[in-house]
Amino acid sequence: MSWHGFTVLFQPENLRFLWWGFTVTIEIAVCTIAISLASGVVLGIARYAGDTSRGRALRAIGLGASLYIETFRNLPMLLIMLAARFWSHLPPFWAAVAGMSIYTAAVIAEIVRAGLLAIPRGQWEAARSQGMSYMQAMRYIILPQGLRKVIPPTVGQFITVVKDTSYAWGLGIQELTGSGTIIFAKYVNPIETFSLIGLIYFVTNFSMAFAARSLESRLARRTF
């Protein structure tokens, strides 16, 4: 560890190199969040529908969603990413996004389902007693309340996604952690390099956590 090992990181070409890695990290995270949010919400609602409905079709869909969720959220994400890389002909960037999305969608689906399960039974009974069909009750009564509860923990999961982008380096994608590995190999300053990079991740994630907390308190204050 030395002072020079730290200052060398702030040379313009090294800063540019790290900035480039950071943009790749953010690109992977944004793509993964978009895909896994959309598919996770659908999967979570499907599993919840299977839990709450007596209809055979919905139960079958719910069972399918359960199988998907329980399989993929209990596997290591890197394994899914490597498998996606070898099984598909996607370029590495998109193989990483695909592998991360397959995993994260299962995690978000469980967050969504937990939020919906927290809606009291009485809401269903009240809606149905007003003559609403199952679909109407879901659409107008359950989902608007449930999905609002789901927002804070979902933002928390986005922080995990930002951290998890580091596994893309395992597929040879030069994101932030990978850029750090290349830089320290040149200057032999792993402690300084990984400390600076840790700080970059920290600032990114801590501001997201801060945003999530203020969102949570705003949502908690608002009633219908």
Binding site: M1, E70, T71, N74, L75, P76, M77, L78, L79, L82, A83, F86, W87, I159, K163, D164, T165, S166, Y167, W169, G170, T177, G180, T181, F184, V188, P190, I191, F194, S195, I197, G198, Y201, F202, N205, F206, A209
Partner: protein
């Protein structure tokens, strides 16, 4: 996935057994150390000393907001620079323990804070010290809240042993990756390793759900969580 592919996989079953062993050993050791770290730092988070609570926040926030892989690289490449040379598996256990410890600390802190404040005050009024009050009054009640999310952290820990594969720790993910690229048989290797992981994580997840149903939920009398 032909019969021949499965035959060559079973001919090399030993490399997968070694991977499974490394994954299990790393997870078990890291669980032990993470629990110790988590209980210690979790208690600091509820201690009546402001400095202790600050230490808790710094540990938890610094670790939770940076990638586990980055921390593993930090130790893997950084420790030899300060003349500490450890076997790869030990580096993995150190990183996994420190990382999981931060999550366990949050679980412990949250569990203790879910016990009504009056319980602690009642214990103090009976002349208990902080440590005694924790040991005999608060912790036994907090355990009910702590254990379900704690088992959930065990599942995450097993999955997180995947970092070993990126520091050449020869865990299950690493074996799937290397064996399949050496033999150009991807399907069978990934399928087998996925089933091995599920054989560990699914029962743990089931235990977590069962515990949540049996002992989870808020404490009835005087809950203020």
């Amino acid at each position: 996935m032909t019969l021949g592919a499965w035959q060559s996989l079973f001919a090399d079953w030993r490399s997968f057994a070694v991977g499974l062993e490394h994954t299990l050993v790393a997870a078990a050791l890291a669980l032990l150390f993470a629990t110790i770290l988590g209980v210690f730092f979790g208690l600091l988070g509820v201690a009546p000393v402001p400095a202790a609570r600050t230490i808790n926040r710094i540990y938890v926030e610094a670790i939770r907001n940076t990638p586990l892989l980055l921390q593993a690289f930090f130790f893997y490449y950084g420790l030899p620079r300060v003349h500490i040379v450890l076997p790869v598996l030990a580096v993995g256990v150190v990183s996994l323990s420190i990382y999981t410890g931060a999550f366990v600390a949050e679980v412990v802190r949250g569990g203790i804070q879910s016990v009504a404040r009056g319980q602690l005050e009642a214990a103090y009024s009976q002349g208990f010290s902080f440590v005694q009050a924790m040991r005999y009054v608060v912790l036994p009640q907090a355990l009910r809240v702590i254990i379900p999310p704690y088992t959930n952290q065990c599942v995450n820990l097993v999955k997180n042993t995947q970092i070993l594969s990126l520091i050449a720790g020869a865990d299950l993910v690493y074996q799937a990756d290397t064996w399949s690229s050496e033999n150009l048989l991807y399907g069978v290797a990934y399928m087998t390793v996925a089933v091995l992981y599920l054989a560990i994580t699914l029962p743990l997840a089931a235990i977590s759900r069962w515990l949540e149903r049996r002992i989870g939920g808020p404490i009835e009398a005087g809950a203020d969580a």
